[in-house]
């Protein structure tokens, strides 16, 4: 019998919907390549002149080129295709991988490709001479690859896979300097926090998959825009669960705690993680599932909005009190992610993605700039910086551009995106949230100005003589600064709104507010808040003087303490969740295991032995065995005598033998 069934194991991809030409078919290349590259770097990187960095650079360069061309295709023709590969079926359920090429994913490809390429170039210089240089590039490549797996996924399954792979890579990268315990702890914290959120995502995916009967995102979105009853009944639950997942990756309050700690990793990692890869995953997920939210789970969007707004305010407040330059930026990221999530919550799909897009560039710029500074002064603490304006002009200029973009002054990128979010909030009638968002803009401007003043203005307070960084590091800064200035120009209300068309959900059209022209109320509020923030911070830190250790000029003690302790969230987690689990509960279980279960088993054994002893001593030994013992002891005694017969002498043996013969013969003769 010929058996072809092993061959049917090989599956076929299936094109379901395409208008992007055949080029999109090869998108799998950019997803798979990083993994191959990571393998190559691991095994051969050591032997190459750049210690494996060249493979990473080539890979990421290819991804950049490929995604740029995709973006070009998208801008010119519009692409929306999906490809599926069956990797197994369970029950009637198909497990599929694949890749989706549409506006949203292409935008993400491009962001990942651009930011990652620049970060990689930067890292070749920044990480020079550091431990595990080659492995760093392996992880970095994997990190980018995992993000591509995530954003290219046409099924929830692959999304989950990419999601967790990103988590693992972040673990590897944050814990890069694992010789120190706080670094490995930070890595662990990131992973576990994300894992907790992933539980939400996982259950959400399970709920969605089982109520729709498919894992294909497009299919789920189709059902949610067509009023499928089975999906409707669980939509709110699923929506919230997915959002819990997004809260982990996108660092929403109160699961944001891992992100500032993640600064333990090398700065390029922070830049990549905060701008392009990890933290955008949550926003990406919400955007990807937006038709579902809009169509069926609009109540869940309220939750999203609430948490987004809380996050943007709370994180911004903490950023004000941070002394660590990178942590200021980290909390700023959390805050900006809050903006994006709030935008999604308010139904402003494009605005959220637009902010993601601009934020990716200027936040990468800020991080790399901070890295350049840290590289020069060998410390993270702003208390030991200052006056670097003169020493590091290129870093300073680009950092200032990034800051302006972040604070949202026109005509830089952040202005347009933040304005659109504010406009959406205003348009949706969320007055309180709008006010908080404007306050957030003020806070953003305040802490960024504070950071700039403390870092670049005044006198140098640190040790040694800082120098401008190498051109390998400053070039990416300059490129990113270019993006930070121009990235916002792709979506100017009333002038050019191409970005809206890039990322539009072609297959499951959505209804969203999109400003035709500037919302001047929102614009003015945001702009004024930003300017006020800059002004106040400049006044406090530059005019009134720099804060010395713990001696801020204006300080409201309780609030300050609350902020310094990060709302006591970490303490709370440690005191009431982690420690009870890790010590109390775990030890209880362990004690239960040894002292109750194990003891029960052992006692069972002991009881059996005890019972056995009774039976043995009283009944067996005293009764049956006594008789047996007598026979045995007599056997023993006999044996002791018979033993003497065992002389080893042939004659005696013959004698015994013959005696036996005689006895047997007599028996035969006499008896028979």
């Amino acid at each position: 019998m010929v058996n072809s069934n092993l061959i049917t194991f090989l599956a076929e991809g299936k094109v379901t919907y395409t208008d992007g030409g055949t080029f999109a078919e090869y998108t799998w290349l950019i997803v798979v390549l990083p993994f191959i590259a990571a393998l190559l770097i691991t095994f051969f990187g050591k032997y190459l002149p750049l210690k494996g960095a060249e493979i990473a650079l080539a890979t990421i360069g290819f991804i950049f080129a490929f995604s740029s061309y995709l973006l070009y295709l998208n801008v010119t023709e519009g692409v929306a295709s999906e490809f599926f590969i069956n990797v197994g079926s369970i029950g009637s359920f198909d497990l599929e991988f694949g890749w989706v090429v549409d506006g949203l994913s292409i935008m993400m490809y491009f962001v990942v490709g651009t930011v990652a390429s620049l970060v990689f170039i930067y890292a070749t210089n920044y990480m020079q001479g550091e431990v595990r240089y080659t492995f760093f590039f392996t992880s970095l490549t994997l990190f980018a690859g995992s993000m591509l797996v995530l954003v290219s996924s046409p099924t929830l399954l692959q999304l989950l896979i990419g999601w967790e792979l990103v988590g693992v890579c972040s673990y590897l990268l944050i814990g890069h300097y694992w010789e120190k315990k706080e670094n490995s702890s930070a890595a662990m914290k990131a992973f576990i926090t994300n894992k907790i959120a992933d539980v939400g995502l996982m259950i959400g995916i399970i709920v969605l998959a089982l109520s729709t009967g498919t894992m294909r995102i497009s299919e789920i979105l189709y059902q949610s825009t067509h009023d499928y009853e089975s999906l409707k009944s669980v939509a709110y639950l699923a929506g919230v669960l997915l959002f819990i997942g997004a809260m982990g990756k996108s660092a929403q309050f109160p699961l944001h705690v891992w992100l500032p700690d993640a600064m333990a990793g090398p700065t390029p990692v922070s830049a990549l993680m905060h701008a392009a890869t990890m933290v955008t995953a949550g926003v990406y997920l919400l955007a990807r599932m937006f038709p579902f939210y809009e169509g069926m789970a609009s109540e869940a969007l309220d939750v999203v909005l609430l948490f987004g707004v809380i996050t943007l305010f709370a994180a911004g407040m903490i950023a004000i009190v941070q002394d660590d330059l990178k942590k200021v930026l980290a909390y700023s990221t959390v805050s900006q992610l809050g903006y994006m999530v709030a935008a999604i919550g308010s139904g402003a799909y494009t605005a959220a993605l637009f902010h993601l897009w601009t934020h990716a560039f200027f936040k990468a710029l800020l991080f790399l700039g901070a890295g350049s500074v840290i590289h020069a002064v060998h410390t993270n603490s702003m208390k030991e910086m200052g006056g670097l304006k003169k020493e590091m002009p290129r870093t300073y200029t680009t950092f200032i551009l990034g800051t302006i973009a972040l604070t949202g002054l026109p005509p830089l990128a952040g202005f347009f995106s933040k304005d659109e979010i504010l406009a959406s909030l205003n348009h949706g009638g969320y007055n309180t949230y709008f006010a908080i968002a404007v306050a957030g803009a003020f806070i953003t401007a305040f802490y960024m100005t504070r950071a700039v003043v403390l870092t670049f203005f005044g006198e140098y307070r640190g040790n040694g003589h800082p120098h401008e960084s190498d051109s390998m590091m400053t070039t990416p800064l300059i490129v990113l600064a270019g993006f930070a200035v121009t990235a916002g120009w792709v979506n100017i209300p009333g002038i050019y709104t191409g970005f809206t068309d890039w990322v539009t959900t072609r297959k499951n059209p959505i209804v969203e507010y999109h400003p035709e022209s500037f919302d001047y109320f929102a614009l003015t509020s945001g702009l004024l808040a930003g300017l006020a923030g800059i002004g106040l911070a400049y006044y406090v830190y530059q005019i009134l003087g720099r804060p010395e250790d713990g001696d801020e000029k204006i300080k409201v003690e309780p609030i300050w303490n609350l902020l310094e302790n990060k709302y006591y969230l970490d303490d709370f987690y440690f005191k009431y969740i982690i420690n009870p689990t890790k010590s109390t509960l775990a030890n209880t279980v362990d004690r239960f295991n040894t002292n109750i279960l194990d003891k029960a088993v052992n006692l069972f054994g002991v009881a059996a032995i005890f019972l056995g002893n009774i039976v043995y001593n009283k009944f067996d030994q005293g009764g049956i065995d006594k008789a047996l013992n007598i026979s045995s002891s007599s056997t023993d005694a006999l044996g002791a005598r018979v033993k003497l017969l065992q002389t080893g002498k042939a004659q005696q043996y013959i004698m015994y033998f013959l005696s036996g013969v005689i006895v047997i013969s007599l028996l035969i003769l006499l008896v028979l």
């Binding site: 019998m1 194991f9 792979l165 694992w178 010789e179 259950i203 775990a586 003891k599």
Partner: protein, 529 residues
């Protein structure tokens, strides 16, 4: 593509599987007859025979008709004990095939590892013979289609494992709760293992006999399945039989609270013993559920399923929490087995095709991953002469290869998507969310949430283990010691597992392609869909 015509027709009609089962036993005899001093010859004989067995099982897998995966194939039925109508009936279907392959595969690796790495007393002759006998027991259990035959093989594995733990086990003394005097770890563990599992299987045999007398005086599993699915076993009788079968299989799995033999056995066992114990022996229990308990007693399975789900959920949480309290590396991994097998049992208890598929891939994945974890921890315990995680640390620096693999395996074990462990966990939860209609949905969803929380705890203890063992600066006491990183034999045993982990993770069809039809047919037959 030209399809290769079948050159192995002579292996059909049961010869192939029979060889897979009994070739190891034969070579164990050969090994036993070889002089003790011919160590290399002994090792090569064992390796050769296990390789041939593995190749035979691969040939069997190629011969297997995947379009009829729900049928028992390539088997035979020969008269054996006519007095009780017990036959030498063997065969494989889509469910047993992956398990058979796993068993033959892991055995090869175990033998490769044992080439150079045997604890005192070395004696490769004894170890090789025991491993091969063990393989016969394991393979036999997976192909047996007769309850008595199944029982014989099921019990056959106990003896070699008992000796492995008892002879090559941990020789330190330990105190035991409930006992006054300290006992030798290996002694306590081996006896506990033996008596505990024998206790369960004694009841199981009782159940088999009950089925025999109440059924059509047959021990044949396919016939009993026909009987069972047509509703022959009902009422108190069926409850009792399921209870005893449950006891027998649950001890082997092991399910909470019948798990306490496992940590001790694993801690005391030599590396190869732990690997085989974790990779294959535990699967015999869950395989028994899928092969015997569910299809023969479907009604009872439905009645018991919520209880099993609750116990599994407890097992998952409990195992993970217990892991967090461990200081002994091997004991931690042993407890992680309790958690992982909890996922397997959760999948089975859902009685859906998704859940049972999940259980099978979970079994394979657990076999591969935990097997590798035990390889690694055993090797480390051998190198450092301690399993105390408080003293380890900086392993990545001291033994980079072992450390790297340990990190990889820990990631796989915590259910990282893209690696084998993910499917079992995720799909089990998927199955538990929507169990078989008619089952208490609240219980199952609660169990699912507990399982999901368990994944977090799993990640927690594994990362914590990594942090304590792998990361950080090495302890001072290792500074001047010469520590040997993984050698060629170890890598040869480990790398295939790594590759398999990735392969199954990326392409689960390797397992599902074989199991799915069989599982669907099982569920349809037993539970009507």
């Amino acid at each position: 593509m030209e399809i290769v015509t079948n050159n192995f027709e002579f292996l059909e009609n049961g010869l192939g599987i029979t060889l897979v089962v009994f070739l190891p036993l034969l070579s164990a005899l050969v090994v036993a007859l070889l002089p003790k001093k011919q160590e290399l010859l002994i090792k090569l004989t064992a390796l050769g025979s296990s390789l041939i067995t593995f190749i035979l099982s691969v040939i069997v897998a190629i011969q297997f008709d995947y379009s009829k995966a729900e049928q028992f194939q390539l088997g035979n039925k020969l008269s054996w004990i006519e007095a009780i109508n017990s036959n030498y009936e063997i065969g494989i279907d889509g469910i047993s095939l992956p398990m058979l392959l796993l068993s033959t595969f892991i055995t090869v690796l175990a033998i490769i590892y044992s080439f150079e790495h045997l604890p005192e007393p070395k004696s490769p002759k004894g170890m090789m013979a025991l491993i091969l006998i063990l393989e016969t027991g394991m393979n036999g259990t997976f192909v047996a289609l007769d309850l008595i035959l199944f029982f014989v093989f099921f019990e056959l594995v106990l003896l070699p494992m008992y000796f492995m733990i008892g002879i090559w086990g941990d020789k330190t003394m330990r105190s035991v709760a409930g006992l006054k005097n300290e006992v030798e770890t290996r002694l306590y563990a081996s006896i506990k293992f033996f008596v505990f599992t024998l206790f369960g299987s004694a009841f199981m045999l009782l159940g088999f006999l009950g089925l025999y007398f109440r059924g059509a005086k047959t021990f044949s599993i396919p016939e009993l399945i026909e009987l069972g699915t047509s509703g022959a076993f009902t009422g108190t009788f069926a409850t009792l039989v399921f209870a005893v079968l449950f006891l027998g299989f649950a001890v082997k799995v092991p399910m909470w609270p019948l798990h306490t033999w496992l940590p001790d056995a694993h801690t005391a066992a030599p590396t190869v013993g732990s690997v085989l114990l974790a990779a294959i022996l535990l699967k015999l229990g869950s395989y028994g559920f899928v092969r015997i308990a569910l299809p023969i007693l479907p009604e009872q399975a439905q009645a018991w399923a919520p209880a099993i789900a609750i116990l599994s959920a407890i097992g998952i949480i409990y195992g993970s929490l217990a892991c967090l309290a461990q200081t002994d590396l091997k004991r931690l991994i042993a407890f992680s087995s309790v958690g992982h097998m909890g996922f397997v049992m959760l999948g089975i208890s859902s009685l859906t095709s998704i859940g049972i598929n999940a259980a099978i891939i979970g079994m394979v994945a657990h076999g591969v991953i935990t097997g590798l974890l035990f390889f690694l921890s055993g090797s480390m315990a051998h190198t450092y002469h301690t399993r105390d995680m408080g003293r380890l640390g900086g392993n990545m620096k001291l033994l980079p290869k072992t450390g790297g693999l340990l990190a990889f395996t820990a990631m796989a074990s915590l259910g990282l998507p893209g690696l084998a462990g993910f499917w079992g966990e995720f799909m089990a939860l998927l199955g538990a969310y929507n169990p078989l209609p008619g089952l208490n949905i609240t219980i199952f969803r609660t169990s699912m949430v507990a399982g999901a929380i368990g994944t977090v705890l799993t990640a927690g203890y594994l990362l914590w283990m990594l942090q304590r063992v792998n990361l950080g600066e090495p302890n001072d006491e290792w500074k001047d010691k010469k520590l040997h990183d993984a050698d060629a034999y170890e890598l040869a045993a480990w790398i295939p597992l790594v590759i398999l982990t990735i392969l199954i993770g990326v392409f689960p069809k390797l397992i599902f392609g074989s199991t799915n039809d069989a599982v669907i047919s099982l569920v349809t037959k037993a539970f009507g869909g």
